[in-house]
Structure formats: structure tokens, C-alpha cells
Point group: C2
Chain length 338, copies 2
């Protein structure tokens, strides 16, 4: 098979690799329908995270079941399946509590920018569609496996409620999917913070009612002005920097909620600031598996179209260009077709 | 009138002071029934917070209305009233959202260790009882004005639910009241972390089902052992140090909740640790006013007796000894009678 390998910051290569094999009875092998590059893949690509030894990349996937281990009975070869970037048995106590991203047997996916992928914990991780969906729906279903699931979690963690005001910090794919989630959850006002025209346009298409272009203290000031001086009910932090976190915490009203889903890089939250906000804060790797059946339905019924976050489509062999385009912010998110 | 003044760490004096006067039409003057010393008063007393110029102390009170400003119609002279350490108009948007501790007109009380006290925002802050309660109920009602209200908030912020497991970090008056709150909210298992025999006894009396004497990493280990390896549903952080906050975050299960109500002193929360926990975190000054009617009822009906946290009663003129006894941990909390 073929797939992406990262060797060093800025150095992603498309290579011939060993075919994946069933290693555990709980594994499945899928043939990738479509895969993609994630904003979090850019951390090592940009050298903001160590690369270490050369290794495969990618954690988003939809595909066709090729083969299953002896313990996997929930999906069968030929089915079209959607999974999560974090695998889960869906039976342990954390899974039962709805935190499949904290599954006791969790393994993070990391080999999905490839035409074949081994999925651990396949029984609990993969959800098959009733029939093979039309190709035009594949990008939306792919988004569900990570960015849409994570945007949903951001809105859920920020306790977005019908009639409320929600703010989205971050205009990457997750932030844009957060706008979709806030709209679906009934937020009356959805304020997207972005200064990029094309992202503003997509945010509005997804349901944003207002755009704020200011950042940092000015951005907070603007949000306060727009919310009667007190701040928003719900704020989604979809970046993962200290600046974005502070902006999010300060944009929420007393008693409001911040959902933070940007993978944090050297973020420290000042206890006193948090204490005197006082806002609720919840974040972490999204329990995508909890949302999969619902989100798959919303995509298949064409109620939502998170696949629009893909504004560049490349054949898998051009994966390196896919990274480059996102790094240079020429693309929000790159879809890769094997 | 007479009251406590702090001059320097360790130097609290009982002095003759000017009588308080109505300064705003929204003020009331109360004659103090009982007042007390708070754990947070020990921060300046111990020099952990600057004292600055000599100033009065105390923010907990129940008493009799002496006089009201022209805008105060909800309470009348002679009534017995309970308030909160944070005053609130109870009408602004933050109050309406249930966060009276974030009232747009909030003033923190700071002159209550005295026989007469001026209460700003009296209309929204004070709750009168139907009749003057028996003196044996005064300590419980006094506790409601701060430590019991704060313990309730800790349990509420930690989302304690019927049948759940709750951990209380901190064995001061707030932590002990947190045990009461968790029991009232229906927690099945309430684990109090304390190594002091008298506090263990009171915690058990209040409803603790288990006592853990270990602290820090060992304490976390013990909690994990007791909760099937995953941690507790709800954890209340009632101390305000970095160590206690870490202990609390690590003791909660994935998807669990930490309510933090200890006033933080140089606490920084590591974003990555919080992200990968992943727990919900909510804290801040308790919106005691929200809980007052309910908590007053629970005390008057003798359903709860948070007044038991007072294990030392002194006449107000011995306020200095009240501080000393708490500083030396000879007392959990000192009740002062004018």
C-alpha cells in the first residue's frame, strides 16, 4: 500500500509501505474512501512538536471494511464505515460514561493518510452506514470522524442552548464546524471570530450571525459590546494557544461556559483569572464516538454539510502539497483521495 | 460601635469605631446577631496576602435590621436577616443568570466582625426569616452566609448527582459544608480527604462515607483505587493551592467535574493536563444569594446543621484569639458573639 510519512518539519513524503495486517482479534482493516490533513498535523509539520523518528501520519478516515479480526462482529467486509480519531471499545466505564475518548483501551489513530488502514478496537469504534453513501457525502462523513465531531464537542462542552449566544474562537475547520454545531443546538446568535474573507463567508453559510475581526483584548472588548457588556453564554476555543484561551475565558459571561478543543500548546490557565471570571471550562479530545450515529444521520439526511470545510482536494500521492497549502493558509483543509 | 481591625499579619485588634451610617438609599444597617472568622481571613493574617493600611475585617453575618435606606422595601427594622459575603442587587443580568456573585453592582462585605454593619444593595442581598429564629439556629444561618453557601456551590459546580461519588479536597469549614451539600444532593459515596481526627469525625457526622488521609499523588492514587481505577464523578476543591487543585483534577474521572471554591493563591492550571484529563472545571466566588432561600429553609427545618463547623465560640471582643486559634488549627472556625 501507499501512504504519508513525516521525516522532519516540512518534510512529508508519499511512500510505498507494508500492507497493514490484523494484529489483534479486535482489529479491522479498511480500504480508505477519503482521508485528509488535520490542523493538528501542522504542529509537527511546523516544528512546534518534535517529529522524532520518521512515522506515518493521519487520523481521519472513512472507508470500506476489507477484513475483520475474529472478535469483530458489528461490521462486515464491504460495509462503508465511519470512525473516530480515538479508538474505543465502547464498553468500558469511561465509554459508558460517554467519554469514549478516554476509553481504557483507547489508541489514537496515526496511520490514516494511506490507502489501507488498520483500525484497533474496531467493534466499538466503527459505525457502518446502512448502504454505501454517494461519493458527494464522503467529505461530510470524513469531517464527522474528527473536525465535525470535535466542533460538536466544543459546543456541547460550552453548553450551547436554544436561544443562547455562542462565540467561536478559531476559524480553522474545527471552529467552522463549531458554528454548525451551535446552529444545530439552537443558538440564536453565533459570533465567529475570523479576519479571513473566505472563512467569514463559510462561517456565515454554516450559520454565523456575526463576524468579529478583532483579536486579543480588542476582540474581547468587541464581544462585550455585542453582549450588553457581560459576555457570551458559550464560547468555543478551537485554537490551542494561550492567547486564544484567554480570549475565550474573557469573552464568556459570569456563569457562562468555555469548551476548549484546540490541542493546547504551552497553555497555562491562571487560577485567579478563572476563579473571578467565573466560567465553566471543559475540554479535551472529543468523545466523537458518542456523537457518531447522530452526526452521520445529519450528514446523510443533508441537514448539515461539514464537508464544505474541505476547500482543496488532492490525490493522496500529493499529500505533501496538501500539508504545504494548509501551512501557508492557502487551504482550510485538504481532502485526499486514494 | 466596636469591631475588629487588622494592622499587620498576626495583629488583629478589637476597637471602638464610628457607627455605620446609611450612605446610599439602597443600604441597610444591621445589628449583628453573630459573626465569625473565615478561612480566607487567615490569608492576610498569615501574611500570604498584603494587609496594606489598617482596615476592618469580616464578611459573614446574620443580624437584625436597624435601619434601611429609602430604596429598601424588602426588609424592615426588627427583622432577622441572612445575607451573602458578596452583595448583589438581584436584578441585573448576571443576577438573573443566577450569578449574583458577579452582580454588576457587587460589593464584597469586609466590615462584619463588628456589632453593627452597613449592608450595600440591601434590597437584593438580605433575606428575612418569617420570625426571629431560636438562638441555637443562628450559627447554622451564619454558616449559610458564606461557608455553607460556598460548600453548596462547590457541589453544584462539581455537578454532584444522586448516586454519584464525590470527593472533597480540604477539611476546613467550606470542605465540611461541601460534605453536607453532597449528601443533600444525593451522592452515594462521599470521600473526605482529611488527616485530622476531629474533622474526620465531623465529616462523617455530615455524611462522609469514606475518609482518605493521604495527600498529593498518594491521595490521588487512593481515590483511583476506591473508584475502579478511573476517579470520582465529582471533586470539590476547597483549599485554593496549586497542590489541592492538581489533586482535585487528577482525582476526577474522564468526563467528571471539579468545583473549585478555595480562593486561589498562585494557582496555575496546566492546559495540557486539563485537556487530557478531561474534566469540567468551574469555580469562583459562590453565588450564595441564589441558594439563600433554600439553605435557610434547610437550616430552619433542622434538616442540616452547618453551624457545627463552629467549634469555638468567643465574645466579639476576643476576636484576636479567634484568629489565633484558627491560625494554629486549634479551631476549625470561630463564632463571635457581640
Amino acid at each position: 500500500m501507499h501512504g504519508a510519512m513525516i521525516y522532519a518539519p516540512g518534510d512529508v513524503r508519499f511512500e510505498s509501505l507494508d500492507d497493514p495486517k490484523i494484529l489483534q482479534p479486535t482489529d479491522a482493516i479498511i480500504r480508505t474512501a477519503v482521508t485528509c490533513v488535520c490542523g493538528s498535523d501542522l504542529w509537527p509539520y511546523r516544528g512546534a512538536e518534535p517529529v522524532g523518528a520518521p512515522h506515518p501520519m493521519g487520523h481521519e478516515y472513512v472507508g470500506f471494511v476489507e477484513e475483520v479480526g475474529s472478535a469483530v462482529t458489528s461490521v462486515t467486509p464491504g460495509q462503508f464505515v465511519v470512525g473516530s480519531f480515538a479508538t474505543s471499545d465502547n464498553t468500558c466505564v469511561n465509554c459508558q460514561n460517554g467519554f469514549q475518548s478516554g476509553c481504557l483501551h483507547r489508541e489514537f489513530m496515526s496511520t490514516c493518510q494511506a490507502d489501507y488502514v488498520r483500525i484497533p478496537n474496531a467493534q466499538g469504534t466503527l459505525v457502518a452506514t446502512d448502504e454505501v453513501p454517494g461519493e458527494e457525502l464522503w467529505p461530510g462523513l470524513l469531517a464527522v470522524s474528527d473536525v465535525m465531531g470535535t466542533g460538536w464537542w466544543a459546543a456541547d462542552a460550552a453548553e450551547v442552548k436554544p436561544g443562547s449566544t455562542a462565540v467561536v474562537v478559531g476559524d480553522g475547520a474545527v471552529g467552522l464546524c463549531g458554528v454548525i454545531a451551535a446552529r444545530e443546538m439552537g443558538a440564536e446568535r453565533i459570533i465567529a471570530m475570523t479576519r479571513h474573507e473566505s472563512r467569514q463567508k463559510l462561517a456565515r453559510e454554516f450559520g454565523a450571525t456575526d463576524i468579529v475581526t478583532e483579536r486579543g483584548d480588542e476582540g474581547v472588548e468587541r464581544i462585550k459590546e455585542m453582549t450588553g457588556g457581560i459576555g457570551a453564554d458559550s464560547v468555543m476555543e478551537c485554537v490551542g494557544t494561550s492567547e486564544a484561551m484567554r480570549q475565550a475565558l474573557q469573552s464568556a459571561r459570569p456563569g457562562g461556559d468555555v469548551g476548549f478543543v484546540g490541542v493546547p500548546h504551552e497553555v497555562a490557565v491562571d487560577g485567579e483569572e478563572l476563579f473571578f471570571s467565573p466560567v465553566g471550562l471543559r475540554g479535551g479530545p472529543a468523545p466523537v464516538r458518542r456523537y457518531l450515529p447522530d452526526l452521520i444521520d445529519r450528514v446523510l439526511s443533508r441537514r448539515i454539510d461539514p464537508g464544505k470545510v474541505f476547500d482543496l482536494t488532492l490525490p493522496l500521492e500529493q499529500v505533501a502539497e496538501g500539508y504545504k497549502a494548509m501551512d501557508e493558509r492557502r487551504a482550510v483543509k485538504t481532502l485526499l483521495t486514494p
